[in-house]
Symmetry: C2
Subunit: 231 residues, 2 copies
Amino acid sequence: MKPVPAGDLSSAKAQPLGVRSLSMALRAEIEKMILHGGMPMGERLNENYFAEKFQVSRGPVREAFRALVEAGLVEFVPNRGVFVRQVSLDQAIAAYEVRAALFSMAGRLAARRRRKEEIIRLRGLVHDMDEAIEKRGGEGYYQLNLDLHATVMEAARNERLAATYQGLVKELHLFRAKNLDRMDHARVSNIEHAAMVEAIVDGDEVRAYETHFDHVMNARERVIEAYEDIA
Amino acid sequence: MKPVPAGDLSSAKAQPLGVRSLSMALRAEIEKMILHGGMPMGERLNENYFAEKFQVSRGPVREAFRALVEAGLVEFVPNRGVFVRQVSLDQAIAAYEVRAALFSMAGRLAARRRRKEEIIRLRGLVHDMDEAIEKRGGEGYYQLNLDLHATVMEAARNERLAATYQGLVKELHLFRAKNLDRMDHARVSNIEHAAMVEAIVDGDEVRAYETHFDHVMNARERVIEAYEDIA
DNA sequence: GATCTGTAGATCGTTGACAATCTGACTTCC
DNA sequence: GGAAGTCAGATTGTCAACGATCTACAGATC
């Protein structure tokens, strides 16, 4: 009955766009393409291209773009379109400082609000990362590192903080030198992790703040160094 | 000479919406209405209403809404529309903690990067606020307070930090108890300001962090108290 | 040979129309 | 009298088309 085109969206594209509104689903899909798919920085996002790719009109695509602009993943130029955002070293440095602010607060709150199971999990992660470095040549370290940071955020029990932090980390993915935090630093980094976790375990807010703050600011320094190597 | 179109838009529309794209201008305008105009919390924003009000089609209005959703000022419900966001006490508390993280970082960076003229300005503001309290019954205190916070942010010299902070402050405007930070606390508050400024002047990063952190967290406590009075 | 000008193609900005969905009130039935 | 079903009106979701703007390239001018 309905004048729906022969092949329906979800199956035709074989894309699990979800049940949300079309533009919300598109936003998530395009975001994934930018972050994981690896679209070149500065690349222009063509509205017609995405409209055809997902078999929708340009309206929802445009709405998805607006949301991505606000999220800081793309830049908008009137009458030109949107472009995958270029993140300069200076901007990355600034973002690391914001990250330090947020993450050190998370550590501080985690020290105040931690629960027994989180303490166990945190200590376990530090131990696993040690083993990943010493016994498996760094295999699996990256994921464990993400887990550790996520667990600290969880222990802080502040969703607003977690959401802001997440948005910032996404943005930092756009920085081309993101992968410069090499395995050389894993040992040093994990010593910092241990100090962070013990401060949380002790419930020492000030020490938790300091250790978490230093951890991110040290990462900031390493990024600067690494960048200068390739520049 | 460039082929300038006969009838140019800006005058034809006779709308001082600015030179940016239509949806960007709408976003700013609607945001102003929500924050200053005082739209009731939970109010639904009707697309047709805004389209007619600004003499545009619904497309740009919808795009403006998407941006406001991402900014956290309105909530989106599929097939229902967008609503002015309701901010609960719990959410406000969480937001104050994020604010403490950002502002204490600003204080810390300001202590590191301050310039002579900013020192003069900061001390002047604290002095003016004292006079506003003692000699003018609080007249002008509110604006001076905003100026002080803005000056600290400026001295921190981190645009990303400032932008994140600004977005958060906007969101806190949606909290109905926002005006509960009454003049009773101005004296205490300004003593805190003095401590903050002196820490920045001394270039003492740790003390700057602590004083700024405490200042926001104390404000958080006062909001909780005030909320309980009216609840 | 370099710069400027004009045109063509492509892309964005906006609009108005139509389909899908929801809200709220009225009717009907138990 | 209260609960469930039904229907009209209003609102949102999506689309296709038109007008405006920009980029790039070819040709003319100095």
